[in-house]
């Protein structure tokens, strides 16, 4: 399963490098939303719960863009059929798509988080880097795991642009709550008490449950 998954992931990364259709769009979208918040909130800076909420809602909405395009290359020329005809475990397709989306999210955050700190955030991020990286990576795992599952479900749907956000966003509410609550204390002017371990644990359980669920059902999703 790992070998075909790596082949599909390598192909997807090559296509993204060549076409630059997903990551730049996600990053540009995030920057645009930060600017909109900057003017819409009529504030020079935000902190605490407000800052955390703005950051994670923006990242979640940018994820929708990535999820919508995750199977785009497979749709053109019915390339997905070519994969389905191969003697491989179809879970490899899921693993490759989830890994690809995870990498896209990490790249997105390399741009979006510093941009957020510059454009909107009052207090600096300097002191909270290790904790923030742990939160981002665990949240990304959940976003990628559920995103790839929903993208596979909607791959052949005609109204996928509507289906993806309608299915994806409710499923990601727990990630939003946990990530925003975990991040909030680190975005305050004076770091307050936090329950980092509790929220990281919650994200870890969420990631595990959805990854196992996705691995169990993805094969059936690709059946006609």
């Amino acid at each position: 399963m790992i070998r075909p998954a790596l082949a599909i992931l390598r192909k997807d990364l090559r296509l993204e490098l060549r076409t630059r259709e997903s990551v730049p769009a996600m990053a540009l979208f995030s920057l645009t939303v930060f600017v909109l918040f900057h003017f819409g909130l009529h504030r020079d800076s935000v902190d605490g719960a407000m800052a955390s909420g703005v950051l994670w809602v923006t990242l979640l909405l940018a994820t929708v863009l990535g999820v919508n395009r995750l199977f785009a290359s497979e749709r053109e020329g019915r390339a997905l059929d070519g994969i389905l005809l191969a003697p491989i475990d179809r879970t490899a397709v899921y693993l490759a798509k989830a890994a690809g989306l995870f990498l896209y999210l990490v790249l997105l955050e390399l741009v979006a988080v510093p941009a957020f700190a510059i454009l909107l955030l009052g207090p600096g991020l300097g002191g909270a880097f290790p904790e923030l990286i742990a939160i981002l990576l665990l949240a990304d795992l959940g976003l990628a795991g559920v995103g790839a599952l929903v993208s596979g479900l909607a791959a052949e749907a005609r109204a996928r642009d509507v289906v993806v956000p309608l299915l994806l966003l409710p499923l990601l509410v727990p990630v939003l709550i946990a990530a925003a609550r975990a991040t909030e204390p680190f975005l305050m002017s004076h770091a307050g008490p936090h329950q980092l371990a509790k929220w990281l644990g919650f994200l870890g359980v969420y990631d595990t449950v959805f990854l196992l669920l996705a691995v169990a059902v993805f094969d059936y999703l690709l059946e006609d």
Partner: protein, 224 residues
């Protein structure tokens, strides 16, 4: 001669609309089944069922001794499919496309390079598929279909868009000379009958002609 393909009472629906209604036919190893019928008669659906891309809803389907859909995993990797769409990635080069499928099928990359030469597009191997002519894409699709040396070839108008010289290039790979069991969907009645050992004529999803002998006039009546 053992049956490579055996259908008995095959039914397939799309919603309430029947696409195949009680189709039965047997094809021996190395034989060619020519499938005729007007647009919408169910020819492509039949090919997609045999390729394991669609599940049969009733009846029995056996390909290379494996019963579908239960043993579909035994069939995948042993059939080659040339359809209306090339099942290729337009933004990958011709060679990258073949190498990707070679990895999925665990085929040596040298075979991919050899096939590029055999179908006469080695000179354009480094060009994105998007920049190739329709005929070249069709030749590349044929190379993809035989990359893993399949025992059964499912061909949906494989010569569409090819000039006579290009079609000749493909004969050793997908023609009678390939020695493979073939299911050939074509509107070229004379050529189809010339190549066929068994004939299946479909009208509105039902088999109107079936057997080893068919007169051209009877086949042409399917289109009236």
């Amino acid at each position: 001669m053992a049956d490579a393909i055996a259908l008995e009472g095959l039914e397939r629906r799309f919603g309430d609309r029947p696409a195949l209604r009680g189709v039965s036919v047997r094809v021996g190893e190395g034989q060619t089944l020519a499938v005729f019928g007007a647009n919408g008669a169910g020819k492509t659906t039949l090919l997609r069922v045999l390729a394991t891309l669609l599940r049969p809803h009733a009846g029995s389907v056996s390909v290379l001794g494996a019963s579908l859909p239960g043993e579909a995993w035994k069939v995948r990797g042993r059939v080659g499919f040339v359809g209306h769409e090339p099942l290729l990635y337009p933004d990958l080069t011709a060679r990258e496309n073949l190498l990707f499928h070679a990895r999925l099928h665990r085929v040596d990359s040298a075979r991919a390079d050899r096939l590029l030469r055999e179908v006469g597009i080695d000179g354009r191997a480094g060009d994105p598929v998007r920049e190739l002519s329709r005929g070249m894409v069709q030749r590349l699709a044929a190379a993809r279909a035989v990359l893993h040396d399949p025992a059964v070839l499912l061909l949906d108008e494989p010569r569409a868009g090819l000039d006579p010289a290009a079609a000749e290039h493909l004969e050793p790979l997908i023609g009678r000379a390939s020695g493979r069991t073939r299911v050939l969907v074509t509107h070229d009645v004379d050529r189809g009958l010339r190549e066929a050992d068994v004939v299946l004529g479909l009208r509105a999803g039902a088999a109107e002609l079936s057997g080893s002998n068919a007169a051209a006039a009877d086949v042409r009546r399917l289109y009236s």
